[in-house]
Structure formats: structure tokens, C-alpha cells
């Protein structure tokens, strides 16, 4: 296990994080939630940037507060809204990384910067949001880390650039025993990338599921009033009143397709699951 968060709690005046989360080797774990749901707080807890009020966190099987220098070098980091000072240029970043990470791949890093057309001599403050996001990712994957902790790495990127970054992450995962914990508020980014997904809302993990299960076994039943009355509700996770009747989220789509052949059952994307889980009424 690369990361194991067990019953973590962090209490702020107006926010309470309660979190259980695991990141396994050879897997990409996604953390999805709205802005302010607790994604960054979760990442900061893992990285020991904030203290936690309860629970235990293990990284590489060790207590997160007792990681050795080697362990910490083995983590690649992207933090949303945080990075190297805007007054530095990429040439400076190269020097800093070379002096900080013993496995820093200078040639590979420079090559990727050139591929993404990032200027080496300009100060970071002159970069666009997209260029800054690319630089952060390239830094995170530049030192042969086994674990990547990526908080909103695709924020501010256009669709093409986002695909480019996601391709880099797929390539990174070709080496065995690596793992990624990635967050985003754009669900579609993570649908095609993650092996499992945690959904966080208002500080609570409200859903954890394999991505394949989410995409193939979850469904949205569009039921009129009469159909809804007669519907077997054992596998309904949440409902929402609509003008035509009810939308019902299920994780047993096949069951309802076989037993209610005349009812409309739509395939769900992660966005629909999030929407129904957060806004729907639980049964």
C-alpha cells in the first residue's frame, strides 16, 4: 500500500474532514469533489503540511511523520495554487531540482519542457495558467518517484493540454509498483485514467468505487410516478424528484434492465453519479 489514511479527522471552525482512503501500487486513485469539498485538505494531511486531529496516515507503510529523506524524494507533488516562486525561471528550477532530488532526470526534464514549448529563461510569472500547470506536472514526474500526489494538476488547462498531461501520467504508470493519487473537479478527466475513484463532499468520503463498476454497473432509472411506486428499491442508492417522476441512481443497472424492460435506464458518467449522490435523497 502506498498511502493508507485510516479514520482521519481534521477539524476547522467551519469545516470537518473525515477520511478513509487508500492508494495501491500499480493503480491510479482519483479523488473527486466540488471546490471546497476537502480534496486539498486531504492531500495536505498526507504530505504533513497540516496536523490531523484523529486517525493514522501511512505512506510507503510508515507513519507519515517519520518518512526518511529517501521516502520523501520518492513522492512527486503537484499542489493546486502552489509551486515554485514566480520569480524563478525553468533554468533555476533545474538547478534546484538537481540539488534536491538525487534521481532527478535533468535531460528528460529539459526535453519534456522543450516538447511542451516551455521557455527555459523566462520567469514563471510570465507563464500562462496552462504553462504553469504543465511545469508543475513535469517537475513532479522528473525524479523517478514511485508515488505521485497530484492536486488538481489539470486545472486551467484546455482540452488538448489536458489530454497531453493525462498521456504523460499513463506513460509514467508503465513502470511497475508506481501509484498516483490525483484530484480534480472535472470528472471526465479521471474517468479514463483512474482505476478507482473516491467521491468527497463537505469533508466526507461519500462513495468509493472501481471506475469500471461506476461506468458499467451504475445507471440512472428514469421512472414515472407509477413505475416508481412499483419499483424494487433494494438497489436504489438515491432518488431525485423530477417533472416526469423520479431519477433513481442504482449500482445494479443490469438487474433493472432485466426486470423492468420498459423503463428508461441511462448509462451514467461520473458526473451523474456525483450529482445524484450529492444532490439526491438517500433511501
Amino acid at each position: 500500500m502506498l498511502v493508507d489514511m485510516n479514520n482521519i479527522e481534521k477539524v476547522y471552525t467551519k469545516f470537518h474532514l473525515k477520511c478513509n482512503l487508500q492508494v495501491k501500487e500499480n493503480g491510479i486513485t482519483g479523488l473527486i469533489g466540488q471546490n471546497g469539498a476537502g480534496k486539498s485538505t486531504t492531500f495536505k494531511a498526507i504530505l504533513n503540511l497540516i496536523s490531523v486531529d484523529a486517525g493514522a496516515i501511512q505512506v510507503f507503510g510508515k507513519d507519515y511523520k517519520n518518512l526518511s529523506r529517501d521516502d520523501r524524494e520518492n513522492i512527486g507533488i503537484v499542489l493546486s495554487e502552489s509551486g515554485f516562486s514566480n520569480y524563478l525561471c525553468i533554468n533555476d528550477v533545474v538547478k534546484i531540482m538537481k540539488s534536491t532530488y538525487r534521481r532527478f532526470d535533468e535531460a528528460g526534464f529539459i526535453q519534456r519542457c522543450e516538447k511542451f514549448r516551455l521557455p527555459m529563461k523566462d520567469k514563471i510569472k510570465t507563464f500562462s495558467t496552462g504553462m504553469k500547470a504543465k511545469l508543475k506536472i513535469l517537475v513532479a514526474i522528473s525524479h523517478d518517484a514511485d508515488l505521485l500526489i497530484l492536486d488538481e494538476p489539470t486545472a486551467g488547462l484546455d482540452v488538448v493540454a489536458r489530454d497531453g498531461i493525462l498521456d504523460i501520467l499513463r506513460e509514467y504508470m508503465l513502470v511497475e509498483n508506481r501509484g498516483i493519487l490525483i484530484s480534480s473537479h472535472i470528472a471526465t478527466d479521471l474517468e479514463g485514467l483512474c482505476d478507482d475513484i473516491y467521491l468527497i463532499d463537505d469533508g466526507n468520503i461519500i462513495l468509493h468505487e472501481d471506475t469500471d463498476v461506476l461506468l458499467n454497473e451504475y445507471g440512472l432509472i428514469k421512472a414515472g410516478e407509477d413505475t416508481y411506486k412499483n419499483l424494487d428499491k433494494r438497489h436504489i442508492l438515491s432518488i431525485k424528484k423530477e417533472s416526469y417522476g423520479y431519477s433513481c441512481l442504482t449500482n445494479q443497472k443490469q438487474f433493472y434492465m432485466e426486470n423492468y424492460p420498459d423503463t428508461v435506464i441511462e448509462k451514467t458518467g461520473i458526473d451523474e453519479v456525483i450529482y445524484m449522490t450529492v444532490k439526491g435523497e438517500k433511501l
Binding site: 503540511l49 524524494e73 516562486s85 520569480y87 524563478l88 540539488s99
Partner: protein, 221 residues
């Protein structure tokens, strides 16, 4: 810690205007006046020492830019190392700037063939170094604790120190306090005063490092 050092060396480039000003002020002092006095040299020496003492404190602000401290604290450094590096870098900045200033002064003196009391220049350097260390010891923990808000605090502290000095001076004048005895004592016990000052400064510096470490270790990002 080497990475932090390299980062600060890269960021110190932002202060090139400051170093240019030093050279221009020194040039003006030497070639704008017909006589070069120990007093005018003292101004350059103090200016260099005080300003170079503020550079490391301002480097913390550059680290905080782009919420950079959160990122830095996630890199493979201990928070303790960040603090130690900042203080080491402070000493290097003061010594480096003072040496550069000395080269400018020495060249100026040689060109102008000025008659300077080198012993007095040495004493001024010593006092300026002590003052610079005091500035860092005072402001570094404040800078780490309060971030940008510390700029206002620096102004308040400077005015408070100035005010206290003014009041003490007024009291001394009104009550006819005679400080000549103290001056005589210092002149008669130079080695003792220097050693005592060095010990006090070292203790203050060590206390400042300790306080900064505690502040940073407790800080949440």
C-alpha cells in the same frame, strides 16, 4: 538543504538593483566630495550591512510568492533545515555584501589617496555587523510568523525604538546623566566589552533560530 541554498542564490538576483545602488552611492561618496572622511565611509558600511540584513528576510517573501511555502514544505527538506539555511544565508549575505563594499571602499581610498584611520573603519564594520545580526535575529522570526504583515510591524518597531531612544535621551539631558564614565569603562576594557557583546549577540542569534524553528514547525499550510 543544498536545494534551498541554490534557490536563494537564484532569488537573490532580484536584488541586483540594490547592489547597483551601493556601487552608485559609493562612487558618489568618493568622487562627488573632495574629501573622503571616516564618517562618509561609515555611512556606506552601515547602509550595506543594514540593507543586506533585510535581504534574507525579504527572501522569505519571495518563497511565499505563488503560495510557494506550501510547496517548499512538501519537498524533501525538514522545516528545521529551512530555518537553518535562511540564517546561514543571512550571515553569508552580510559578509559577502560587506566584503564587496570593502573592495569598493578600498579601491576608492587608493584612487583618492585618502587619509583614513583604518582602525576606525574596522570598528565601524564590527558595529555594523552586530547591528545586522540583531536585525536578522529580530525580524526573521517575525517574517516567518506573520508573512507580509511584518512590513507594517517593521515600521512600528523602528518608530518605537526611535521613540524610546528619543525619550531616554531627553531624560538623560534633563537629569544630567553623565555617560562619560561608561565611555571610559568601554575604552579601558575593550576586549571584555567585545567578548561580552559577542556572547550576547550569539545567544540572541541562537534564540532567534530556535524561535523561528518552533514557529515554522507549528505552522500549518
Amino acid at each position: 538543504m543544498k536545494g534551498l541554498f541554490v534557490k536563494d542564490l537564484c532569488l537573490v538576483r532580484e536584488f541586483k538593483k540594490f547592489f547597483l545602488v551601493i556601487v552608485l552611492v559609493a562612487l558618489f561618496m568618493f568622487f562627488g566630495n573632495s574629501h573622503v572622511t571616516t564618517q562618509s565611509l561609515a555611512f556606506i558600511i552601515f547602509y550595506v550591512a543594514m540593507m543586506s540584513a533585510m535581504i534574507p528576510c525579504n527572501l522569505v517573501a519571495y518563497d511565499e510568492d505563488n503560495h510557494g511555502m506550501t510547496f517548499l514544505m512538501a519537498l524533501p527538506f525538514q522545516r528545521k533545515q529551512y530555518v537553518i539555511e535562511k540564517y546561514l544565508f543571512s550571515i553569508l549575505t552580510i559578509v559577502g555584501s560587506s566584503l564587496a563594499g570593502f573592495v569598493v571602499i578600498a579601491v576608492g581610498i587608493l584612487i583618492k589617496q585618502a587619509d583614513i584611520e583604518w582602525k576606525a573603519v574596522g570598528a565601524v564594520y564590527l558595529v555594523a555587523f552586530v547591528m545586522a545580526i540583531l536585525i536578522i535575529s529580530l525580524f526573521m522570526p517575525l517574517r516567518i510568523k506573520f508573512g507580509e504583515k511584518v512590513n507594517v510591524m517593521i515600521i512600528i518597531i523602528c518608530f518605537t525604538i526611535g521613540g524610546i531612544g528619543y525619550v531616554m535621551n531627553s531624560i538623560a539631558k534633563k537629569t544630567d546623566v553623565d555617560v562619560s564614565g561608561l565611555i571610559q569603562f568601554v575604552k579601558g576594557h575593550v576586549s571584555f566589552v567585545v567578548v561580552l557583546t559577542a556572547i550576547i549577540i550569539l545567544l540572541l542569534f541562537a534564540l532567534s533560530v530556535y524561535i523561528s524553528e518552533r514557529i515554522l514547525i507549528k505552522k500549518e499550510y
